[in-house]
């Protein structure tokens, strides 16, 4: 959120540095020295990121003459619109679930002793040591018709027919939420820990019981963490690929699966570029709107 505000300022500072080589005297990296230092990383970013990005943008319009046909196709075909709608819907629901489940988890983590917290956080982080692919396979093993969950439920006698837990939106949401939970737990935990404990004591001394202290003090002051975590989950969920592919199945295509299909199966690169641009610019627009909306409204924590 503050990243957007920093970049112009930093660009100005870098520009000022590059434009004042005569000042010398103690200011490291002015003039040619600056370019020697910045050159390699800039070249790296330029070649491996900006160039392909430019190609993606260019390639969606110039096929080889300028035309908006690819974008028209997206907008005019109901199936593709469904994919976009599903992508947005799944991302929103996943974000909501991650917040709703992640907040109590963070609350609990914030309330235990630091040493206990370290161990519990380890449990949260350990799954990340496995590759995404393996984790998705694990979920498939759990959610399949003959998977662990169904077998356990059948053995307990709670159901007679296996439940359809996979190859549908339910299975996808469960898996995505599980994988993205840490992205809300950590920011929310961080903002909870940043609240001075004295504020809760003050609230109690002023007559607020535990529930009211939570609703009036803790919750509002932890909202920056919720906003940050939510944004992160949403953006990552929009671009999710493996889970929709493996756990969601062919009928649950999200936009990245469509891009993949377009590139690998149909070899329609321009169409894939167009889809990629929709995802990229859609996300950026959303991000800036979100940041604008949230900036003025969030309460600020501070030790006062």
């Amino acid at each position: 959120m503050s990243g957007a505000a920093h970049s112009p300022a930093m660009a100005r500072a870098a520009g000022a540095g590059a434009r004042a080589p005569a000042r010398g005297g103690g200011r490291a990296g002015t003039g040619p020295a600056l370019w020697v230092l910045l050159g390699p990383p800039l070249a790296f970013i330029g070649v491996l990121f900006l160039l392909p990005l430019a190609q993606v943008i260019w390639g969606s319009f110039f096929t080889p003459e300028f035309s908006l046909a690819q974008y028209a196709r997206i907008v005019e075909t109901p199936v593709y619109l469904q994919v976009l709608a599903r992508t947005a819907r799944v991302a929103i629901v996943t974000t909501a679930l991650c917040i709703v489940l992640g907040y109590p988890a963070a609350l609990y983590l914030a309330s235990v002793k630091p040493t206990t917290r370290q161990w519990l956080l380890l449990c949260v982080v350990v799954p990340f040591f496995l590759s995404m692919l393996i984790r998705n396979f694990i979920w498939m093993a759990l959610l399949q018709r003959a998977g662990l969950v169904n077998r356990a439920l059948m053995d307990l006698g709670w159901i007679t027919e296996p439940l359809p837990l996979m190859y549908n939106e339910f299975g996808m949401l469960v898996t995505m939420t599980n994988m993205l939970l840490p992205y809300t737990i950590f920011p929310i935990l961080s903002s909870l820990l940043a609240i001075p404990p004295e504020l809760r004591n003050a609230s109690a001394s002023l007559g607020a019981g535990r529930l009211r202290t939570f609703l009036r003090i803790t919750l509002p002051l932890s909202l920056p963490g919720v906003a940050a975590g939510g944004l992160l989950v949403f953006i990552v969920a929009l671009g999710f690929f493996i889970t929709p592919a493996l756990v969601g199945g062919p009928k649950q295509m999200m936009i990245s699966n469509l891009i993949d299909f377009s590139v690998r199966e149909v070899l329609n690169w321009p169409f894939a570029f167009a889809l990629a641009n929709v995802l990229l610019w859609g996300t950026l627009v959303f991000y800036f709107v979100y940041v604008r909306m949230v900036e003025g409204r969030l309460p600020r924590t501070g030790i006062v």
Binding site: P196, E198, L199, N201, A202, S203, A204, S205, L206, G207, A208, G209, R212, R216, I217, P220, L221, P299, R300, T301, G302, I303, V304
Partner: protein
């Protein structure tokens, strides 16, 4: 307030007198003990405070004063002992039911609320209707002289202003008891001195029973009706400022409040009235009758430097002796001397700078003091 709300807060409405005023509640602390593991942080502490009085818990870091305050507030549970407000034990009541106002050392203002919001918070918790709430908040804010600041956020205020908001917030709901934890700690010297007087005036005006915690002895002397001096969790002395300052019960109190000359007693010569003491280094002096410390053997003589005369005037006093000036310190309004008597006893003197010419190091002169200014205390 509705009856249900009164019950929630646990206040007997009748005991509060007319609507809106708090009856000044007494505070009794009885044999309070707090142990952390095997360390006794507060050791068998007892005192009583009448309604409307201000007691200062005074002591160095680690003396147990903050822990005691936290136990009265309810943030800590005592290992044993009792805390009673208006005669009723509050130990089984949670913090939010004790009807106390607390001013924290770092103010603990809610950063996401304005000054108005902060001060209104306790009234909201007590479901005071909106119009009445606004009226009382305005009154509290004007009492701490912050009118016009209602819309500001805590981060936009200076330290002194934040402190006043914290104070307004703690008194707006007229609690039975006000607790202040090093309230002046974060202020600069001038502001501190100003606020000490202001807070004291406010407290008197409102008649709220108050316990203040500090390590600043000047603050304790300026503000209190009673001072309780603590060291290592043990109460050293409790009494009005005048008494604690002029008749310290032991070495710790004599040393902690103001400055003292502490002379080791070798023996007391009995019989004569006033008694005569002889120090380990041979200094003879008469001793104040006030001083004999509950029958225990006096071990130390206390003479405050401001009570020691130096020069011509000293010779007229009943206790006087020749000394050599070793050091002279000019402090603006005072001059401080460090002198040495014949036997080696060191005497510090504080004289008004206006009172006469200064003595240079190396000068030989006389110092002296009155009988009533020489106190014998037990260890």
């Amino acid at each position: 307030m509705s009856a249900a709300t009164s019950a929630t807060i646990g206040i007997d409405r009748a005991a509060r007198g007319e609507a809106g005023t708090s009856a000044a509640a007494s505070l009794d602390v009885e044999r309070l003990v707090k142990e952390f593991g095997r360390t006794r942080v507060v050791d068998d502490l007892s005192f009583s405070l009448r309604g409307g009085e201000l007691l200062t818990l005074l002591g160095p870091s680690g003396s147990g004063k903050t822990t005691t305050m936290r136990m009265i507030a309810g943030f800590e549970d005592p290992t044993s002992g009792d805390v009673r407000i208006a005669g009723e034990s509050v130990l089984d009541r949670e913090v939010h039911r004790r009807d106390i106002g607390v001013v924290f050392q770092q103010y603990a203002l809610f950063p996401h609320m304005t000054v108005f919001g902060n001060v209104a918070y306790p009234l909201e918790m007590r479901r005071v209707p909106k119009a009445e709430r606004a009226r009382r908040v305005e009154r509290a804010i004007s009492m701490v002289r912050l009118s016009g600041f209602e819309g500001r956020y805590p981060r936009e205020l200076s330290g002194g202003q934040q402190q006043r908001v914290a104070l307004a917030r703690a008194i707006v709901f007229q609690p039975r008891l006000l607790l202040m934890d090093e309230p002046m700690g974060a202020l600069d010297k001038r502001l501190r001195e100003l606020m000490q007087v202001e807070v004291r005036q406010l407290q008197r005006e409102l008649g709220i029973t108050t316990v203040s915690v500090t390590h600043d002895q000047v603050e304790a002397l300026v503000m209190s009706d009673l001072i309780a001096v603590l060291d290592g969790g043990v109460l050293q002395q409790i009494g009005p400022p005048l008494e604690v300052y002029q008749r310290p019960a032991n070495r710790f109190v004599a040393d902690f409040l103001g400055e003292s000359n502490l002379l080791e007693v070798a023996r007391l010569e009995g019989g004569a009235d006033p008694k005569v003491a002889v120090t380990a280094k041979g200094l003879r002096t008469t001793v104040s009758a006030d001083s004999v410390a509950d029958g225990r053997e006096p071990a130390l003589l206390v003479v405050r430097p401001e009570n020691v005369a130096i020069g011509e005037a000293a010779r007229d006093l009943c206790n006087h002796l020749p000394v050599e000036v070793r050091e002279m310190l000019y402090v603006g309004d005072l001059v401080k001397y460090r002198c040495v008597a014949e036997g080696g006893d060191e005497i510090q003197v504080k004289a008004l700078a206006a009172a006469g010419s200064a003595f240079a190091p190396g000068a030989r002169t006389t110092v002296g003091w009155r009988t009533e200014h020489c106190l014998a205390v037990a260890r």
